[in-house]
């Protein structure tokens, strides 16, 4: 509570004290400003207003309070601003300083990120908001009557407050210090598999959010017209008030009493030192710029020595199994060194060049953990090596290998050269080459080399038109190999290439046109086409493409009437190829009814149309209005290899995050007198949402393994059921917002 009030009181103290101090020192500070107060009424029709309120506090009626203070003196300046005082999206800011000497800022920025409420935030657990979630200790599954579940507020509040001070007076030397704290508190729904197999169901877990990130930065620098050098230090500390979440797992412990554990984000500390600088006015009108940083990210996690695991025979016994970690504590340590050097030159008339080198080395010096839980106790995954259809390379349930995490780190070198040449007054051409050479420790891709070439032509030969067309080609070639053990463990792996690093040929064309055919008339068009071909990929993403078109027309004199209309279309397509089944993993082999290849095409289409205008029908009245109509559609089509399953339906998905949004926003500002200004507005919003993952949510999925159905009595003898909280399931809304604000100006 004290923490909450502190930044506010500091700011208020500043606002009250600063003007007096400044006036005394300045001998004539002139202040202007305003105090405003108003009211807002929100009438919404929705089951769950969280989407309406996602980042805005529109929760019913509200008193709107705000202020602005602007001081200008011969030597000092001051700006204070506050709005939405007392609301979840409160904002306070104080900036000031002395010309040519110092400046400072203090701020507080609040928001609440809302995910679900009402029917969109229900849970069978007691203790929501804390670190222990318990369900009634009745043998069997969850309470299947969501109407009796607990409701909660699925949201977290974020408060960012801090300040900055910079001093540089009559000298090239300067100092700068920043400090801020970001606090997040509330609830975020996470989830967990009930057991190890997806057939065992999953459970939504309302987990507590009690995060704090404190950042402190200090910088000392020397900056002149010919050179700049700065050394800086960052210390950032993340604290989580709850590093473990305990919860009743009805699958693993149907009798109740024993709790499962989910490991939440651990505290961490980041220290970073850096030096950056430049030297200007070198031969060839060159500027040499560079930056070197070294960071050390650490954490310390006490390993769970035992965990609740799934029962071996339903209803017979509960188990707590030893995890047998190789070290009781995981000491995380990631050390990152980066270097960036850039030489920008103007070697001859009309020619600009830039050569650069970026180096990034992330070194993982964390504890090399391994776990050796006993065989067949639920802390190992898959079947024993060689005995099952998909045993992991280690951590096999037979206990033949310890569970050993992959160790990942990398070293990147990025070189490039760019040049632009002004052919004549109306034409400029650009070209460049960008090269990556990456070495990494990873189980599949051990390195890659990327070559990217681009050319661009810009033409403004006509006074009223500027056009730009850019093409780039990127070729990525990766060093890929698998260990025999990995292939043996997962025989399909040799045919899989992960798209983030798979061999790639990328082509992109971008076209931009801006025209001003008449005074106060602007026409703009932008088209982008991008295609990625993962040419050597058999299983995985094989290609994706994007088409984007943006057009706009604005017209009118800003001081009287101006308008804007725009239209955007975006189409993205992802093609992928897969194989399923326990038979021969080679996709080139003949399919069977249970082992076969299939492909998917995912397509997202979105468009929006916007229109808006500013109008000053008289000197004292300003009207603004805008309307947006936007739509998104997501689909997936499947096709199955001929010779595969017959008669098995794989119907397309036609609603992956389908939305339709209409927003109308009208505002009028009337200057009633020199001191009084009245602002009134009306907004209408309609949001429709349909998604296959959230439409017709039932909260509860019985498992076929236990033969249960949704019509079972309140408690069913089914430990493998799944439960969700309803997040995102009741988002559609219609809202009318009316507000009136009076502002007194001084």
């Amino acid at each position: 509570m004290i923490m909450k009030n502190r930044p506010l009181s500091i700011l208020i103290a500043n606002l009250l004290a600063a003007p007096a101090l400044a006036l005394a020192a300045d001998g004539g500070m002139e202040y202007t400003g305003s105090v405003s107060i108003g009211a807002r009424s929100v009438n919404d029709k929705t089951q769950d207003p969280s989407k309406l309120n996602e980042y805005r506090d529109l929760d019913g009626g509200a008193v709107l309070g705000g202020f602005e203070l602007r001081g200008r003196g011969n030597n000092y300046f001051l700006n204070g601003f506050g709005e939405n005082l007392g609301l979840d999206d409160q904002y306070l800011d104080l900036k000031g300083g002395k010309y040519g000497a110092f400046r400072y800022q203090l701020y507080l920025n609040d928001l609440r990120h809302n995910f679900g409420s009402g029917p969109g935030a229900r849970s069978p657990f007691a203790g929501v908001g804390g670190a222990t979630l318990t369900a009634p200790s009745i043998a069997g599954g969850f309470n299947t009557n969501p109407a009796t579940w607990n409701t909660f507020d699925d949201s977290y509040k974020r408060r960012d407050w801090g300040g900055m001070f910079e001093y540089q007076s009559g000298s090239p030397w300067y100092i700068r210090a920043e400090a801020n704290e970001v606090k997040r508190s509330g609830i975020n729904v996470i989830a967990a598999a009930n057991g190890m197999s997806p057939g065992n169901g999953f459970t939504d877990l309302p987990a507590p959010i009690d995060f704090s990130t404190k950042n402190y930065t200090a910088e000392v620098g020397y900056s002149t017209k010919t050179a700049h050098v700065a050394a800086n230090l960052l210390y950032s500390k993340f604290d989580n008030g709850n590093e473990l979440l305990s919860w009743s797992n009805r699958f693993s412990n149907p009798a109740g009493g024993l709790l499962d554990t989910t490991v939440l984000p651990s505290d961490n500390n980041l220290t970073k030192i850096g030096i950056n600088g430049n030297i200007r006015q070198l031969p060839g009108d060159s500027t040499l710029a560079g930056r070197i940083t070294y960071s050390n990210l650490t954490n310390s996690v006490d390993m769970l020595q035992s965990m609740l695991v799934q029962f071996t025979t339903p209803g017979l016994s509960n188990q707590i199994a030893a995890t047998n970690p190789s070290s009781p504590t995981f000491k995380g340590k990631l050390q990152t060194t980066t270097l960036a050097v850039s030489l920008s030159s103007h070697p001859m008339k009309n020619l600009d060049t830039r050569v650069y080198w970026n180096y990034n080395n992330e070194s993982n010096k964390s504890t090399r953990m391994s776990f050796n839980p006993a065989a067949n106790q639920g802390l190992r995954g898959g079947a024993a090596s060689g005995a099952g259809n998909n045993p992991p390379v280690n951590c096999d349930s037979g206990g033949l290998n310890p569970c050993t995490p992959e160790f990942f780190h990398y070293k990147k070198n990025n070189l490039g050269v760019e040049a632009s040449y002004k052919v004549n007054a109306g034409n400029k051409i650009f070209g460049g080459w960008d090269y990556y050479d990456v070495e990494r420790e990873r189980i599949d891709f051990h390195g890659n080399k990327d070559n990217k070439l681009f050319v661009e032509w810009k033409n403004n030969s006509f006074d009223m038109v500027t056009g730009r067309i850019k093409y780039h080609y990127l070729q990525r070639r990766s060093d890929w190999s698998l260990t025999p053990g990995l292939v043996q463990a997962n025989p399909i792996e040799p045919y899989v290439r992960r798209f983030d690093l798979a061999n790639l040929n990328q082509n992109q064309v971008k076209f931009v046109l801006d025209a001003s055919p008449a005074p106060f008339v602007e026409i703009g068009f932008e088209g982008i086409f991008k295609k990625n071909d993962y040419s050597d990929t058999t299983l995985g993403r094989t290609q994706d493409s994007r088409q984007e078109y943006y057009a706009s027309l604005s017209a009118g004199d800003p001081s009287v009437l101006r308008g804007l209309i725009f239209g955007d279309i975006e189409i993205t397509t992802y093609d992928s190829y897969h194989r399923v089944g326990t038979g021969n993993p080679n996709p080139a082999t003949a399919p069977t009814a249970t082992t076969y290849n299939w492909d998917a095409r995912n397509r997202d289409k979105s468009w929006q149309l916007g229109i808006g205008a500013d109008w000053s029908p008289m000197a004292r009245l300003k009207l603004t209005g805008s309307y947006i109509l936007a739509q998104t559609r997501g689909t997936t089509d499947f096709s199955v290899q001929q010779g595969g399953p017959t008669g098995t339906p794989f119907p397309s998905i036609t609603n992956f995050d389908n939305t339709k949004r209409k927003t109308l926003n009208l505002k009028a500002v009337y200057e009633a007198s020199k001191q009084w200004e009245i602002t009134g507005g009306y907004a209408y919003e309609q949001y429709k949402y349909s998604d296959i993952g959230y439409d017709n949510t039932r909260y509860f999925i019985p498992s076929n393994a236990a033969g249960a159905t949704a019509s079972n009595p309140a408690y069913v003898a089914n430990q493998q059921s799944s439960v969700v909280t309803g997040r995102y399931s009741f988002q559609p809304y219609t809202a009318n917002i009316v507000y009136l604000i009076g502002k007194y100006k001084f």
Partner: protein, 338 residues
């Protein structure tokens, strides 16, 4: 141990820093006598420099004098001629656009280099502009005056005036502040479109700004981001995802953008592609990662036991929630289940 020292130092320095800032508008930090002299000289020069212009350009002169540049005590604040050129020949020729070599900043006749050069003549020693020469904006002929309005009145809550060339077309906003994205998206149309998608960072709501992630004044990094790498940038806010993890997920370590679209997406959590598809693009195996999850596994499936737990809600993440990394032991961590 080192962390404790830092934390103690920070705890000590933070109140001192805040106290210093509280006294900021006072006379705690006095300028040198040389600076005071320069201020006086600038005051008289500025007064003389504007007199020649005010007769014809009264509105511009007035608006300029209300800015920080125009304050008489601002020694480094230029007069009209410092930016627009010598007025003598301009007056002699009777005025008019470009007459007497006078420089305008709104038209296309003056090159971006010339426009920016005028500002850099004073500001190139500023730390914020240290990497202007290496940035994309300079390369693409973006001038300071394309974004900044030297004669404009700063919007609510701002000390500098940004140019907003178009009417604001947005859903209802609870802020009245001047939001910098309106300036940036007058050129970056693609970003304007993405910022209003169903899933987006709170940019149009005014809770973060473009310059929280990008440095429009130039940077050594790609896309002029403010950190050395994409993960370093993202985890500066999403600090809970920094790790280090016992069980890491390699794409997370290397590039958040492998799965997320930072400016906006049709899909929750800014995913570039909907789960389970985005996961299946990398993970194929004999069992559930390689299975088709078609629409017959939706919530309306009958019997209810046919509802597919890998399709509904978050898809794969229903079980494998800790995809950014896990510190749980054994297979519970390996498969990101706990």
């Amino acid at each position: 141990m080192v962390s404790r020292v830092y934390a103690k130092a920070a705890r000590f320095l933070a109140p001192a820093f805040l106290a210093l800032a509280c006294l900021g508008t006072g006379s705690a930090l006095l300028p040198s006598s040389a600076h005071a002299q320069a201020t006086k000289a600038a005051q008289s020069a500025k007064s003389a420099g504007t007199e020649a212009c005010v007769g014809c350009h009264e509105d511009y002169v007035k608006s300029y004098l209300s800015t920080k540049h125009g304050q008489s005590g601002n020694a480094s604040g230029p007069d009209c001629q410092a930016c627009h050129g010598n007025t003598a020949e301009h007056v002699k020729q009777g005025g008019g656009k470009g007459a007497g070599g006078i420089v305008g900043f709104n038209g296309r006749t003056t090159s971006a280099e010339r426009k920016s050069g005028t500002c850099l003549a004073c500001h190139d020693g500023n730390r914020h502009l240290a990497f202007w020469d290496s940035g994309k904006h300079k390369k693409n002929d973006v001038a300071c005056s394309d974004c900044h309005s030297l004669h404009g009145k700063p919007g609510a809550g701002s000390t500098i005036a940004l140019k907003v060339t178009n009417p604001s077309v947005t859903p209802y906003q609870t802020t009245s502040r001047q939001l910098e994205y309106e300036t940036c998206t007058s050129c970056h149309r693609q970003i304007r479109s993405q910022l209003t998608k169903p899933a987006h960072h709170p940019v149009i709501e005014g809770k973060i700004g473009c310059s929280d992630c990008h440095n429009p004044h130039g940077a050594l990094t790609k896309m002029m981001v403010k950190a050395e790498s994409i993960p370093a940038l993202c985890t500066s806010c999403h600090a809970e995802k920094r790790g280090p993890y016992v069980w890491g997920h390699p794409p997370v370590e290397e590039n958040c953008l492998a799965c997320h679209s930072a400016h906006g997406s049709n899909h929750a959590r800014l995913l570039s592609e909907k789960a389970p598809n985005v996961c299946q693009d990398c993970h194929d195996a004999a069992r559930h990662p390689g299975t088709i999850y078609a629409s017959n596994g939706s919530w309306t499936a009958t019997p209810a036991t046919s509802i597919n737990t890998r399709l509904i809600a978050r898809g794969c993440v229903n079980c494998h929630f800790h995809v950014h990394g896990s510190n749980a032991p054994g297979a519970r961590g390996k498969f990101y289940l706990r």
